[in-house]
């Protein structure tokens, strides 16, 4: 193509040919400019039709004359379709999408969907220039829009809606996909045991990466939940806590089935101002990534290194919390108080701590397994009183001791032992605790209301939560609570007291505080007003 300068107009002529005998069918492969596709960089490409729609489209190749066939089925189906006037579209292979794989296994993938209506009103031709200077024109048979396909995991619509509902509570977004991956793994799990454990573990981690921001949610699940006044009381000038990113906190959160709670929680809590909760901290530990892989290996024993690591991590956020919560009304927050609670549905499943310790998880995973197997056995009243495991902060969750199997107990006790080495001396092996519990269960509920002589209140050592008058006062000021609720707050494993002692101490405190009583939902609630 030469154009001489000089004169202002110069023309060159080329002949145009439309070859007739070509068997080649030309198509357009259109990409989006934003995808920045550069075909010249492709080293290798493979393409095929995506025939997955064939089975959907009917034309079911159900075996004919083979197993499960029926005499005259085809004719009958055809007659039926004609009778009802059902017209099914044919499956045209020509219209099926293309799948294009570039650069082999690790490369990109594209899906090419046919664009309709291209050849209806005008025809497209491809003009290529031949070596002799003439143009050759080929008609375009079809137009396919190629879009890149995501290789990374995506959420389905339902999952996305779920996560959207929790967006205010979840801070660690990385763990969302991690959960999903584990869930998928678990479904196609090889070892049943392992998958169960990881599954339970996952349940524990559950709505993963969730931060337990406030006690508010806990309160919702308390016995006097139905009253709206409780909600109102809670929302009194408290700001929402925001914890460190990356510190995922596992929290098993089940909806309260017994209540008719409003389903859509989108925007419900937007206006609420909630303070940092002094009793709970979501200070937690490592992200769960490390955990699941370790779980299976470390059922029997825990890596001490990781333990100490976790504990040191716990210290740090505690201090931060202390600073942040200076302005709180209650004001009393010790770094040590990192009581974590997890309330299950009110059907009385016992709580487990939301520690994301390995031990915590593992044990909880194990115990969950047990729990899950025997939910009907559990009477609802036991939940609060029966914490079977002592523990300081990275405590093991409370379980229904009666249902623990021997092996579990053994495993758990080993865990405990492994942990106890690093911690204070007050902890006794898990087995002992477990045994103690059934005995202590029965007197506990009965002994609540009768004030008992102080039996030498044991001071908990190196525990997070002190069963003090201050603590009780705080709770009662915030909202009316039953004794059961109060007991829930001061779990034995945290305070280091046995359940009997807890009951005694609590009774004393209540006597001293002399709170006002109110009957809500046929239950006696205590409350204090300031």
């Amino acid at each position: 193509m030469t154009s001489l300068g000089g004169s202002s107009s110069s023309t060159t002529e080329y002949t145009v040919r439309v070859p007739k005998n070509t068997s080649k069918r030309y198509n357009i492969m259109a990409f989006n400019a934003g995808d920045r596709v550069n075909c010249s960089t492709w080293t290798q490409a493979r393409m095929e039709r995506d025939m997955s729609a064939r089975r959907i489209y009917g034309d079911d190749e159900s075996a004919e004359g083979a197993g499960g066939s029926e005499f005259g089925k085809k004719q009958r189906d055809e007659a039926r379709r004609r009778k009802y006037g059902i017209i099914t579209k044919e499956f045209k292979a020509e219209d099926q999408p293309w799948i294009l794989k570039v650069n082999g296994k690790g490369g990109k993938r594209f899906k090419g969907l046919r664009k309709g209506g291209v050849t209806e009103n005008a025809s497209y031709y491809i003009f290529t220039q031949c070596p002799d200077g003439a143009f050759e024109a080929f008609p375009v048979n079809g137009w396919y829009n190629f879009t890149p396909q995501a290789k990374h995991r995506t959420l389905t619509a339902e999952e996305a809606e779920e996560e959207w509902g929790r967006r205010n509570k979840v801070v660690n977004h990385f763990s969302i996909m991690l959960q999903k991956r584990f869930r998928e793994q678990e479904r196609g799990g090889d070892d049943e045991d392992e998958s169960e454990k990881t599954g339970k573990k996952k349940k524990n981690i559950g709505r993963g990466g969730e931060l337990h921001i406030t006690d508010l949610e806990d309160d919702l699940m308390m016995s006097s939940d139905n009253s709206d006044s409780s909600m109102g009381e809670d929302a009194d000038g408290k700001s929402k806590a925001k914890k460190n990113v990356g510190k995922g906190k596992k929290k098993k959160r089940k909806s309260n089935d017994k209540e008719a709670v409003e389903e859509s929680d989108d925007g419900d809590y937007e206006g609420l101002e909630v303070d940092y909760m002094s009793d709970e901290s979501s200070s937690d530990e490592e992200p769960e990534k490390g955990k699941p892989s370790k779980t299976e290996e470390h059922l029997k024993g825990i890596d001490e290194a990781s333990e100490s690591e976790e504990e040191s991590e716990e210290e740090k956020p505690n201090e931060e919390e202390a600073k942040e919560e200076e302005e709180e009304e209650e004001g009393k927050k010790t770094p040590v108080q990192t009581e974590k609670k997890k309330k299950k549905d009110s059907s009385g499943e016992s709580e487990s701590s939301d520690d994301s310790d390995i031990e915590g998880e593992t044990a909880s995973a194990l115990f969950m397994m047990q729990k899950k197997r025997t939910p009907p056995k559990r009477p609802s009243g036991r939940g609060s009183a029966g914490s079977s495991k002592t523990g300081s902060r990275p405590g093991t969750p409370s379980i229904d001791s009666a249902t623990t199997s021997n092996t579990l107990r053994a495993a758990a006790s080993k865990l405990e032992q492994g942990k106890r080495q690093n911690q204070g001396p007050t902890e006794s092996p898990a087995a002992k605790r477990l045994k103690m519990d059934p005995s202590s269960q029965s007197p506990a509920p009965s002994g609540k209301s009768t004030p008992q002589p102080p039996s030498g209140k044991s001071t908990p050592s190196s525990s997070d939560v002190q069963l003090t008058e201050e603590a009780v006062r705080r709770y009662l000021i915030r909202k009316p609570m039953t004794t059961k609720d109060l007991l829930k707050k001061f779990q034995t494993k945290r305070t280091g007291l046995s359940s009997e002692q807890t009951v005694n101490v609590l009774a004393q405190i209540l006597k001293r505080l002399n709170p006002e009583r109110k009957i809500i939902n046929d239950k006696m609630h205590f409350y204090l007003t300031e």
Binding site: M1, S3, S8, S9, S10, T11, T12, E13, Y14, T15, V16, R17, V18, P19, K20, S23, K24, R25, Y26, N27, I28, M29, A30, F31, N32, A33, D35, N38, C39, S40, T43, Q44, A45, R46, M47, E48, R49, M51, A63, G65, A66, G67, G68, S69, E70, F71, G72, A93, L100, A122, S123, Y124, Y125, I126, F127, T128, F135, A137, F138, P139
Partner: protein
């Protein structure tokens, strides 16, 4: 039909072949189809007029006629000169791939888009008018009938279809009961072909009266009142020896 992944021939893009994507009006492409074996349809003129690039396509002489054969002075003539408006392809990356029975190959990248316009001559207007007239015609239309079509059914003593049917019945006669064993053999061979049969079909196959047949089949088979194969008979397990996957699944399901 390509079932497996076929390797795409990337020669075109490797050589960075550039092509033009040109939109041609339908009437023009119709004319092109009438081209001779050699395929020459016209010429493209690329010129620079006062700095502006102008591209024009001229249809060759013999293709301008719109009649049956190439007569230049037919009633209607397709315009000859068509300027092409050129566009760039900034917004979209387009490649061209071609497909034959055996191979898919990437021919090249689209570097320009063009649209072929027609100069608004009288000729063109006439052409367009015709086109419009044709496309306006509705596909469904009313047509007057010369003779009114009436399906008046005269009362008939016996309809012809019925007569035929009765005659057939008479010649065939009632279905005779064959030997039990014979019927059983027929049934077994039928069940070898298919697993599920309707009683009517079995009657047709065996040509036995219904009651007799039912007796026999009740011996060797069971009736499916629900499930996938509704109202069908199938052989009892002990008589069955199918070796299909489905059979095994069925059995498994039932034992579970």
């Amino acid at each position: 039909m390509r079932e497996t992944m076929s390797e795409v021939n990337l020669n075109g893009v490797k050589q960075n072949k550039g092509v033009w994507l040109v939109k041609i009006p339908k009437y023009l492409s119709q004319q092109w189809e009438k081209a001779t074996e050699k395929g020459e349809v016209g010429t493209i003129t690329i010129g620079k007029k006062q700095g502006k690039t102008e591209v024009r396509f001229s249809l060759s002489e013999e293709l301008t006629a719109r009649g049956a054969t190439g007569e230049s002075d037919a009633s209607l003539q397709v315009p000859r000169h068509h300027p092409l408006t050129m566009h760039t392809v900034k917004g979209q990356t387009m490649a061209v791939f071609s497909q034959t029975e055996s191979e898919i190959s990437l021919e090249g990248m689209v570097v320009h888009r063009a649209e072929c316009r027609a100069v608004a001559s009288d000729n063109y207007m006439k052409l367009k008018k015709l086109q419009i007239q044709e496309s306006i015609k509705p596909q469904r239309f009313s047509q007057q009938l010369e003779k009114a079509v009436t399906h008046v059914f005269k009362p008939v003593a016996n309809h012809s279809f019925n007569v035929a049917y009765q005659k057939k019945k008479k010649t065939e006669g009632k279905m005779v009961r064959a030997e039990r064993q014979v019927v059983l053999d027929m049934l077994f061979s039928a069940f070898e072909k298919h697993h599920y049969y309707n009683i009517k079909d079995l009657v047709e196959i065996t040509k036995q009266p219904v009651t007799y047949l039912k007796e026999i089949i009740r011996e060797i088979g069971t009736y499916n009142s629900k499930g996938k194969h509704k109202n069908t008979w199938k052989l009892k397990r002990e008589y069955r020896n199918y070796e299909s996957e489905e059979e095994k699944d069925e059995e498994e399901m039932q034992t579970v």
